[in-house]
C-alpha cells in the first residue's frame, strides 16, 4: 500500500466511528416515529419530556449548534501555510463533535450487544407483545440518546475551555509539540467528561438506561418464549430451569467428591498417626 493510502486509512479509521454513530442517531427518531405511527396507531407511545421526539430534538439542536466548530478549525488551518494537510485534517477531526460521539456510539453499541436477539421483522403479528417490545425499544433508544446528549454537552464545555486555553497559550507560551496539544485536550476533555459522569443527571440516566435495556431484553425474551411454546421449542425460562437443576446437581457432586476426598485423607492421616494398619 502506498504511503498516502496508509494516511487515508488512519484518518478514515478515526472518522468512521463518530460519523456512523451520529448519522444513525440523527435519523433514528424520524424513522421511529414514522414506523410506529404506521404500524401501531393505538399502541402506547411514550409522551412527555422523556419521549423520543423531545430527546431527539434536544440532541439535534445541540449537535447542530456545535457543528460550527470543525469549520472554524478548518478556516484557521486553511489560512495557515501548512504543507502537511493530513496533519491539519487530524486536528480538525479532534475538534469534530461527530468524532466525540464515537464514545456515545460505543455505549450504544454495548447496549445493542446486550439486547441482541430476534429482529422485529421475524417476530410476527402478535400485536400486544409486539407493542410492548416496541415501546421497550423506544424507551431504550430514548435513554441512550439522553446519555449521548449529556456527553455531548460535556464535550462542548471541554472544547470551549480547550480553545480558550490555546488562545491564552498562543500569547505567552505556545505549545510546540503534538504530545502537548493532545495532552492538553485529553486533560481538559477527560475532566469535563468525568464531572458529567458523576453528575446527578448522568446517574439518573444511567439507572434508567440500565432499566430500559433490561426491559427491552425481557420483552424480547417473553415474545420468543411465546413462539417457543407454540412450536415446541425450549423456551428461555425452561433452559434456565434446566441450568439451575444442573448447577445444583453439580454442586452436590462436588460436595460428595469433597467429602470422599476428606474421608480418604482421614484414613491416610490415621495410618500416619498410628503406623500401618
Amino acid at each position: 500500500m502506498a504511503e498516502a493510502n496508509y494516511l487515508k486509512m488512519m484518518t478514515d479509521f478515526w472518522e468512521t466511528a463518530g460519523k456512523t454513530a451520529s448519522e444513525a442517531q440523527k435519523d433514528l427518531f424520524q424513522q421511529l416515529a414514522a414506523r410506529f405511527a404506521a404500524s401501531f396507531p393505538l399502541a402506547a407511545m411514550p409522551v412527555g419530556a422523556a419521549g423520543p421526539n423531545n430527546a431527539g430534538a434536544a440532541f439535534s439542536e445541540l449537535l447542530n449548534s456545535l457543528m460550527a466548530l470543525p469549520s472554524a478549525v478548518k478556516a484557521a488551518t486553511d489560512q495557515s501555510n501548512l504543507s502537511d494537510k493530513k496533519t491539519a485534517e487530524l486536528l480538525q477531526k479532534i475538534m469534530n463533535p461527530q468524532e466525540w460521539l464515537s464514545v456515545s456510539g460505543y455505549t450504544d453499541q454495548s447496549v445493542r450487544q446486550l439486547v441482541e436477539g430476534p429482529k422485529f421483522a421475524d417476530i410476527g403479528q402478535l400485536e400486544g407483545k409486539f407493542a410492548v417490545l416496541f415501546k421497550a425499544w423506544t424507551d431504550l433508544r430514548t435513554r441512550a440518546l439522553e446519555q449521548s446528549t449529556i456527553q455531548l454537552k460535556a464535550y462542548a464545555k471541554a472544547a470551549q475551555e480547550f480553545t480558550g486555553t490555546l488562545r491564552e497559550l498562543a500569547k505567552d507560551k505556545p505549545l510546540d509539540s503534538r504530545a502537548q496539544l493532545v495532552g492538553l485536550w485529553v486533560d481538559v476533555a477527560n475532566r469535563h467528561l468525568l464531572e458529567a459522569q458523576r453528575s446527578a443527571e448522568y446517574l439518573e440516566n444511567q439507572r434508567e438506561l440500565l432499566r430500559a435495556s433490561t426491559g427491552f431484553k425481557r420483552a424480547q425474551t417473553e415474545l420468543s418464549d411465546f413462539y417457543g411454546e407454540a412450536f415446541g421449542i425450549p423456551t428461555r425460562s425452561e433452559i434456565d430451569d434446566l441450568t439451575r437443576m444442573v448447577a445444583e446437581l453439580k454442586r452436590e457432586v462436588r460436595a460428595d467428591q469433597r467429602r470422599r476426598r476428606r474421608q480418604g485423607n482421614d484414613v491416610v492421616d490415621r495410618r500416619t498417626a498410628h503406623g500401618s494398619i
Partner: protein, 372 residues
C-alpha cells in the same frame, strides 16, 4: 452553548505547522500493523502444565526454571473480570518468570469463560468448591500441607474469604490490588477514582437482580465499557494517537499490542456471582462487617490468622487505595504488612518500574516466613 473562538483555532493551526512528522508516523504505524505476526503478540507464554480441572476451571503448574527453594507452593488466584495472563504478559514483564527465577513453585487458576450456562454459580461455588479443590490439588501435586495464597483484585477478595473459612490450608496470604472495604473513600481522590463504587451504588438492588435474571451474566463487554468510561477521552484516543508514540520502536509497539490483547479478552461474570459482588460487597460492604454469607457460612475476617502481605498500587483508579489500605484492623493476624507500589491497577504487573521490586519483595517476604 460553546461559542467557538477563531483565535483558539489559529493557535491550534500554528501547532499543526510544527508537527508535520505526524504523517510519517501514521504511515509507520500502519506498516507495523501490517507486518506483525500473531505469534509476536502471544501472552502468558511461560511453560506450564495442567494438573487439575473441574468444570471450566483449570489449575496449571509453571515449570521450574531454577531450584525450588521455597517449600510451600504459591497459588495465584486472579479476578473473574480479566485473565490471569497479566501476571506473565511477556518475557520481560512477568511476575511469574521473576518469581520462578527466585525458586518459587507457582500454580495458577484459570477460571475459564463463564457463559449463561454458569449463571447459577455463586461466590460460594468459586471459593468453597473450585478454589478449595484447586488448593487440594496443589497440596497433592507438591506434597505440601498448606499453600501460599496470592489473590489479585477480585481474586484477592475470594482468597481473603477462603483464608477466613479454611485457615488451616493457608500458610501465608498475599493480597494484591484487592478491594476489601468497599465504602472507604479518600476525600481527595482524583475524579477518575472510585467511579465503579459510585456507579454500582447508584443502582437499585431490584434492577441488578432483574438484569442478571434477564441476561444471565454480567457481560465482559459491559465491564469493558465501564473501564473505558473511567478514563473516557484518553481511552478513545489511544488507538489513533497513542499508537503513534510507539511507531519508531517495534518492541514498544508489540508491548502496546500485547496489552491491548489482554484488555480485549474480558470474560463474563456468572449472574449470581455478579449479584453478590455488586449488592453484598459494593453496595452493602458486608465483608468488613462480617456479614458476608457464602453457602450459609459467615465470613469472619478475625479467622484470618496467618501472616498477610497486602500489596496495592498508588495510582489505582479501579481499586483506590482507600478500599484496601489499612485492612489489618479487620483481620485476626498480628503479622500484617503493606507494600505500596508506584503504578496503576494492572500497571503493577507490567510496569518496568515495578518488575523487580514486586517479585523480590514478595519472595523476600515469603522466604522470611519459611518454616524451618
Amino acid at each position: 452553548m460553546a461559542q467557538f473562538d477563531q483565535t483558539g483555532a489559529t493557535a491550534a493551526s500554528n501547532i499543526v505547522g510544527n508537527v508535520s512528522a505526524l504523517g510519517r508516523e501514521l504511515a509507520q504505524s500502519a506498516r507495523l500493523i501490517a507486518e506483525v505476526r500473531d505469534e509476536e503478540v502471544e501472552i502468558g507464554t511461560a511453560p506450564k502444565e495442567e494438573v487439575w480441572r473441574c468444570d471450566k476451571v483449570i489449575l496449571y503448574r509453571y515449570k521450574a526454571v531454577a531450584e525450588r527453594k521455597l517449600r510451600t507452593p504459591l497459588l495465584i488466584v486472579f479476578s473473574l473480570v480479566g485473565r490471569y495472563t497479566i501476571v506473565d504478559l511477556q518475557e520481560d514483564r512477568s511476575m511469574v518468570r521473576n518469581l520462578l527465577k527466585l525458586g518459587v513453585d507457582i500454580f495458577v487458576i484459570d477460571w475459564g469463560s463463564p457463559s449463561r450456562a454458569d449463571r447459577y454459580l455463586t461466590m460460594g461455588d468459586y471459593i468453597n468448591d473450585y478454589l478449595d479443590g484447586a488448593i487440594e490439588a496443589v497440596k497433592e501435586a507438591s506434597g505440601a500441607k498448606q499453600v501460599n495464597l496470592l489473590g489479585i483484585c477480585e481474586g484477592g477478595t475470594f482468597s481473603l474469604c477462603y483464608a477466613a473459612l479454611h485457615p488451616q490450608n493457608v500458610e501465608n496470604l498475599i493480597l494484591m490490588v484487592t478491594p476489601v472495604d468497599f465504602h472507604a473513600r479518600d476525600a481527595n481522590e482524583p475524579l477518575s477514582h472510585g467511579l465503579i463504587n459510585l456507579w454500582t451504588q447508584n443502582l437499585r438492588g431490584e434492577d441488578i437482580d432483574e438484569m442478571m435474571d434477564v441476561h444471565g451474566v454480567l457481560s465482559g463487554e459491559l465491564m469493558g465499557l465501564v473501564f473505558t468510561s473511567m478514563n473516557p477521552v484518553r481511552n478513545t484516543l489511544k488507538y489513533n494517537l497513542d499508537l503513534l508514540d510507539v511507531t519508531d520502536d517495534k518492541k514498544k509497539f508489540l508491548n502496546f499490542l500485547r496489552m491491548e490483547k489482554w484488555i480485549a479478552d474480558r470474560p463474563h461474570h456468572p449472574g449470581e456471582v455478579a449479584k453478590q459482588w455488586v449488592k453484598d460487597l459494593y453496595q452493602n460492604n458486608c465483608l468488613v462487617v462480617n456479614k458476608l454469607l457464602l453457602d450459609s457460612q459467615r465470613v469472619e475476617l478475625a479467622n484470618v490468622t496467618m501472616p498477610v502481605l497486602n500489596i496495592f498500587a498508588r495510582d489505582d483508579h479501579i481499586v483506590p487505595t482507600a478500599m484496601t489500605r489499612d485492612i489489618g484492623k479487620y483481620l485476626g493476624t498480628k503479622a500484617y504488612a503493606e507494600l505500596e507500589l508506584p503504578a496503576g491497577h494492572m500497571g503493577i504487573f507490567v510496569s518496568g518500574k515495578t518488575q523487580s521490586v514486586l517479585a523480590n519483595s514478595l519472595a523476600d517476604w515469603l522466604f522470611a516466613r519459611q518454616k524451618s
